[in-house]
Symmetry: C3
């Protein structure tokens, strides 16, 4: 694909561009990360610490932010470039020009076991060994990769993809344009036990799990169903691998959760919240709209909308930063205190 | 179901009740959480911070603790109620009046691959694409959901359920009335490698994993087998999703582990221990009977019976609470120390 | 197997041995851990805190380090022994004398679905319900346990084993002599989304995941593929259960990662690094060769080669040890400071 064609395809995103490589219209063979790219590949720079890599990258073409310094650096190295407001987004769209994601062919594989009481939409793709139980409703163009199991009475909206070896439990409701990655488990029994004199008594989990439209659930993640009512994940929420969402959680819209995040029962997460990797949220905690939790934060109490928290237990991020710097200096601080104590008990109080 | 029938079904649990809703016997259509319940649903209150919700809930009926104030609050709002000692347990039992959990129909699906050298009990339910290998023994009424794989020489006790897409490795012994949730892996090779000059050498894991009766293992959890001997999970122990139990661990009876807990090799956990979410326990550590670890605790050393620990590294909970409050105040503390130092070096020793 | 035969089989590892049990050549029936072993079993002692167990073990034979005191202790208790430099390694090799790991029989099960455009090597073992898609290449002696799914265009080297219910995504390249454990997911789409005004926009993940030779990936772990380029795990690297390796990570050779470790996007891990359980590594961080991170460490910045770090955020281990001791003493420290303040403001400056 010629570089000029890529620039054209990006349309009104482009603020400026330069057809370098000796004035020739570079034929871009593919895309690559800045450090790995070679002369017939295009890469992108977002700025910040990566900006200096323009001086060393092997890339033949670059998507740049609208910054004269970076444009000049590219020209100096004879690199073709296009400037845009949001290089990451534009690079993302450029990938779509080169890459055709694998899609399971439309049709139902003869080894799939589809219950006669399941309702199947048009143009679905169902792979080998898929099991679709009684009462299930599959929307149009649903794509179910091999060895997926769908328990009874599940509803799956149009254009949703279930990847190999994932499991959807009874009565779960999954919206349209969702993606459930391999090994994920949706709507399994929540971890509900009542302590009694003779041990743990199971609390039946009669509720359901609901995923709204355009939700993604990562590999080997789980979204459990509750004793009563529902566990709900709001539309446009994206969840990474090995995330645990317990029974009765209510997750807002447009939320992003990185890998290995865990949520205890009955947690409420507002819209557009971002939880970094390995964050934990305790039972019944409420996290306000737009809040952010840093990696490994342990949220025990409610977090206000827009707040950024860090640490375990989670505290405001700026306090955390100052406190962790001092944590390292505790030995020094202890020594100072001891010296002052000595000074005071020496009765001197002076040098 | 009429409210009076529910009250009758709960039997000697009931200490008092009131048939409100204008004296009419409410027909309860279902159960719901306090905040979501509507006029033909029943909910429950345990007390504490939820007690005030009696004033606002839309529920038509409530399970209450034996507290006059709550009973009066319910009466004032024309809500039918029943008072019991343990509302959570009674609500749990009420769910069983309304909810019939899904059970795979008895029989062996024609697509299941059962080795002729496997022994299969009476009235088992085995779903599509299940694989049962040579030498496996399945007890009566065992239920195996679709796409489960059972490696050779596994024993599974009566009335145990294996959910879709879980895997049971060679020679594992699973008791009766156990539940293994989707994606869980029981008895896989422990992570045993010996460092040598040329890299990591595999230590064969010739041992077995044993789950005693009434054990539950959550979605995508793993209980590995050891080099020699056994990894054992005691009876009535309940384990949530994505929990890792390494080779050679010995877990007691009636233990509860929340999601994403991890245990290194050779750990010993006493009876009735509770480990909250994301707790980690280091190699060979011993946790005494009835001990409790708060979410995200990192246990490196032995914990005495009955102790409650928090933090990383885990320390007694009350010390942790005081120390974390002061952690936030480290910047302030550092400033105070500096001021005192100045005062002392000024030679004043006074204001 | 006679004890003398075991000693002979261990060859030049042996520095000394003693045929005790009353001078009779013990018939060793099996191997066991020190605490569980009985009179016809062999165990091993590495030294350290386990050394004292020689006085109490029920084992009939022991692998010992080359230490006179331990040899004498064994003789005093009439235990047969063999002394070697590395008891753990030798015990590991002794397991191989007794234990024949289960291997799926060679052949392709009739229920496996092998695409006609897949290339299959010699002497492969492919279990029931395995799905091998178009364009896949399987090396000789590859072993694929039941219900595994292999997406299109995957390459799998000779002698590699895929355990039941794992999933290999499109275009992944897996070396020879690798082991992928049950439920693991290799090469799934990385968690790549671009924030836009209307929500998260998917960044296609057009790259691939590469596992070099002799890599092991634990149960329910995931190694994602990136937007462009590759995610790579170096040869001889061993990864435990539920580990998350995000898109674009570059993991060195001979690395060991314990369970529940998580790595954000674009992380670089050097050769022979050891990450203990539940460690997290942030976006783009670089960990130098031979570095070690203790359990639950949170690595946000680059770590130099050979460094040992602990804590969250991760700091040098020795600093961490001193600081955590003082963390517990913060209440005491605060009290001391208060007392000094009072003393100073009293104007005394002395006792």
């Amino acid at each position: 694909m010629k570089f000029s064609e890529i620039v054209a395809a990006l349309g009104d995103q482009v603020t400026a561009s330069s057809l370098e490589r000796g004035g020739k219209d570079l034929v871009v063979q593919g895309l690559a990360a800045l450090e790995q790219a070679n002369a017939d590949q295009m890469s992108y720079v977002e700025g910040g610490k990566f900006a200096s890599l323009v001086a060393t990258t092997g890339a033949g073409a670059l998507v740049l932010p609208t910054k004269a310094a970076l444009q000049e650096a590219a020209i100096a190295r004879n690199i073709a470039w296009v400037s845009v407001k949001n290089p990451r987004m534009v690079f993302s769209r450029a990938i779509a020009l080169f890459y055709q994601p694998y899609r399971l062919p439309v049709g139902i594989h003869p080894t799939a076991v589809i219950d006669p009481n399941a309702q199947v939409g048009k143009e679905v793709a169902i792979g080998p060994n898929v099991v679709v139980s009684s009462g299930v409703k599959l929307g149009d163009r649903v794509c179910i990769h091999p060895n997926v199991v769908v328990y009874p009475d599940v509803m799956i909206g149009a254009d949703t993809t279930l990847h190999a070896n994932c499991t959807i439990h009874e009565r779960a409701q999954i919206g349209s344009h969702c993606v459930i990655h391999s090994g994920a488990v949706i709507g399994a029994e929540g971890f509900g036990f009542v302590p009694t004199a003779t041990g743990w008594e199971k609390m039946h989990q009669s509720g359901i799990t609901v995923l709204e439209d355009r939700v993604e659930i990562g590999c080997n993640s789980a979204v459990d169903r509750p004793a009563v009512g529902e566990t709900r994940v709001g539309q446009d929420t994206k969840i990474d691998n090995m995330v645990h969402i317990a029974h009765g959680c209510k997750i807002g819209q447009g939320v992003a959760m990185a890998a290995q995040v865990g949520m205890a029962g009955g947690v409420t997460i507002g819209n557009r919240v971002i939880l970094a990797g390995q964050v934990g949220v305790a039972n019944q905690a409420v996290v306000g709209d737009g809040a952010i939790a840093s990696a490994k934060a342990g949220i025990h109490n409610n977090i206000s909308a827009g707040e950024t928290v860090s640490g375990m237990p989670a505290i405001p991020h700026n306090v955390y930063l100052r406190a962790t710097v001092l944590f390292k200096k505790l030995p020094e601080m202890a020594k100072t205190i001891k010296a002052m104590q000595k000074q005071l008990s020496d009765g001197s109080g002076k040098e």
